[in-house]
């Protein structure tokens, strides 16, 4: 990866007694689609606001392309934000909203208009310049907010849960579109979300936040397949966490492990596990048929539960229901298990 776009050096932000961000060190690369993922109150939005300049770090420093911006006001930073509530100016038209940054810079009117039209084309709102924000749908407002930020050619674009207010279908469509726009303009995007699926879909890298600290930074595949902490394992996707006695019985070590439900296979009691697999036996206590797949809750012999998910490739709901109460052998590849710290 290239030079660093954003660098956090031991950054903390305290609100009275509360440590909203607690000693975070983080590097975001130039041109990256970077997501900050975490539950509400985990510090991800505060980090974003400190990059934008709406908040200042209590301790530590923030660098934007090598320049220390920790104490720079928002209007002196080449960073733009797409707000969660879009924050479009209600008394201005769509065109005036998009041209706002250019107007402040003192660009002539005809040049502003040209750039606004280009932006409207980019976000597929050609011809909307004279409408008022109140006449637009949520998805359209979202695009205007994006255009208003991008028209200034910021070095870094910040997006604060911009898809949160959209319905599922529109959200999925916008995810694809955002990613496409990012690749076209080549600007570093920093995307804050609490939706793990969104983060996994769009990001080059993800930082998972919890209680003001970063739990793990990595590519989506890395985060999903090799969670390093039990928080990440539980927050990103669904995981079985095993530890103590149960872990020792299966793996021989007493550490904490996580295993994804879809990596576990149900087989008959007499099936034999290969050398590269772990295996355990148990009784199917619960079966939930979910159409595309079925979720099983298996009570292990000797204690502990595992959730198993299998796709209904050949089985019908009648078939899967029959397995309830049956003894079964569970098997999964050793490489699919992740050892957790913390």
């Amino acid at each position: 990866m290239g030079e660093s776009a954003i660098l956090f050096k031991n950054v903390s932000r305290h609100f009275g007694e509360v440590k909203a961000v607690d000693d975070v060190t983080l590097e975001i690369h130039d041109g990256e689609f970077f997501s900050m993922l975490g539950p509400s109150g985990s510090g991800k939005t505060t980090c974003l606001r400190m990059i934008a300049g709406f908040d200042r770090p209590t301790l530590g420093q923030i660098f934007l392309y090598g320049q220390d911006v920790s104490n720079l006001p928002p209007y002196d930073r080449s960073v733009n934000t797409v707000f969660q509530d879009y924050a479009l100016f209600p008394h201005m038209t769509v065109g005036e909203n998009i041209a706002y940054g250019l107007m402040i810079k003192g660009l002539a009117k005809d040049q502003r208009k040209k750039q606004v039209d280009e932006m409207l084309d980019l976000v597929r709102l050609t011809g909307f310049a004279d409408r008022k924000p109140s006449q637009l749908s949520g998805g359209q407002r979202q695009r205007v907010a994006l255009a208003r930020a991008l028209v200034n050619h910021p070095k870094v674009l910040l997006l604060d849960e911009p898809l949160g207010a959209l319905d599922l279908k529109l959200r999925q469509q916008m995810q694809v579109e955002l990613k496409a726009i990012q690749q076209r303009v080549g600007i570093t995007f920093i995307f804050v979300t609490h939706d793990q699926e969104e983060a996994l879909t769009m990001s080059d890298r993800i930082a998972v936040f919890n209680l003001g600290k970063i739990e793990q930074v990595g590519s989506p595949a890395d985060i999903y397949e090799h969670p390093q902490t039990s928080f990440v394992a539980g927050f990103v996707g669904v995981s079985n966490l095993i530890g103590g006695e149960v872990a020792k019985r299966i793996t021989g070590a007493e550490d904490k492990f996580s295993i994804r439900p879809e990596k576990i296979h149900l087989s008959s009691m007499d099936a034999k596990a290969d050398a590269d697999m772990y295996s355990a036996t148990g009784k199917v206590r619960d079966v939930v048929y979910l159409g595309l797949y079925t979720r099983y809750l298996v009570e292990l012999d000797g204690g502990g539960d595992l959730v198993v998910v299998e796709q209904n490739l050949k089985s019908t709901s009648m078939d899967v229901m029959k397995s309830k109460g049956q003894q079964t052998r569970l098997m999964w590849k050793k490489e699919h298990i992740s050892k957790l710290g913390g």
Binding site: F54, Y75, V79, F83, A87, L88, F89, Y100, I104, A149
Partner: protein, 301 residues
């Protein structure tokens, strides 16, 4: 019985709506519109100057009287006073409202809110009279001016035409000060409400897009607070136009609309002229609102 009534009403939502609206509508039609109509009708009557009786025949004679120079001066004087009071109230109220809406802690805000509205709890006349004590010849202001040795300046100011007078308590400056004092709450509250409704994210968005605080104020905050300023100015402007107590107590012999109406109606029993005079402020307010609309005051509503 009660449940049968409930069921009967439940099945007839329009009847319920009617029952709810009849009292306020009656009040509105009879008291509000009715009195306005009677005012309008009376303004087209005239007074027989010989008998002192009202002649109930349609005439424009009374309206013609409004265009006599002395009466036009009354309108001009009152309108200018109302405009100055409104500007001063807005200038004082805006920073205070801005602080209340954006920066004050909830405790501080409650405190200021009570502080601003507290004067409204006591009698208007009492408050106005208390200003007599402040502005009178031997009052607090001239006493203080003497202490800081600015009494010369005060005397010089009072000697000026139009704004001056025998003392601050009998001058248009006095009228102005008291008006600003009594109408200020009516300006603070609408502006504060308007500013409070401006989401913080809009201000952040503006500065995010490169606007310095002064630019954000001019391009975002002021336009969005403007309807509040207009709402407040409607109060301060119209209340000043119609008030007769303050000019009576603090003014020189120069009449204002309110005092004129009071005199025509009360002293000389010239109800038609009083009614025609009252149409003046109504007309001025209509013109005022049209200008406000032209300026875009109601665009953001």
């Amino acid at each position: 019985m009660l449940s049968r009534v409930s069921t009967y009403l439940y099945l007839r939502p329009k009847l319920v709506l009617g029952l709810l609206l009849v009292p306020p509508l009656l009040w509105f039609l009879v008291i509000y519109i009715g009195s306005l109509i009677s005012l309008l009708v009376n303004s087209f009557f005239s007074l027989d100057s010989f008998t002192g009786q009202i002649v109930r025949e349609f005439t424009l004679k009374t309206y013609a009287k409004l265009f006599e120079t002395s009466n036009l001066q009354i309108f001009a004087r009152t309108t200018i006073m109302a405009a100055l009071v409104t500007i001063a109230c807005a200038a004082l109220a805006f920073p205070l409202s801005y602080y209340m809406a954006r920066f004050a802690t909830p405790r501080m805000k409650t405190f200021l809110y009570i502080g601003v509205t507290l004067p409204l709890w006591s009698s208007y006349v009492v408050r106005v009279y208390s200003w007599k004590l402040i502005l009178a010849q031997e009052g607090i202001v001239s006493w203080f001016a003497r202490i800081v040795q600015l009494d010369g300046l005060l005397d010089w100011y009072l000697s000026l035409p139009i704004v001056g007078g025998p003392s601050l308590a009998i001058s248009s400056t006095g009228v102005f000060l008291v008006f600003v004092y009594i109408w200020l709450p009516y300006m603070v509250i609408p502006i504060q409400t308007a500013l409070e409704r401006v989401p913080k994210s809009l201000i952040e968005a503006s500065s995010d897009l490169g606007a310095k605080p002064a630019q954000t104020f001019r391009n975002v905050i002021l336009p969005l607070a403007f309807p509040g300023v207009i709402a407040g100015s409607i109060f301060t402007f119209s209340l000043t136009l119609g008030d007769f107590i303050v000019p009576q107590l603090f003014g020189s012999s120069a009449y204002t609309i309110g005092r004129a109406v009071l005199t025509f109606q009360g002293t000389s029993n010239n109800i038609p002229l009083a009614a025609a005079f009252t149409m003046g402020p109504i007309l001025i307010m209509i013109v005022y609102l049209l200008i406000a609309r032209k300026l875009g005051a109601f665009d953001a509503l």
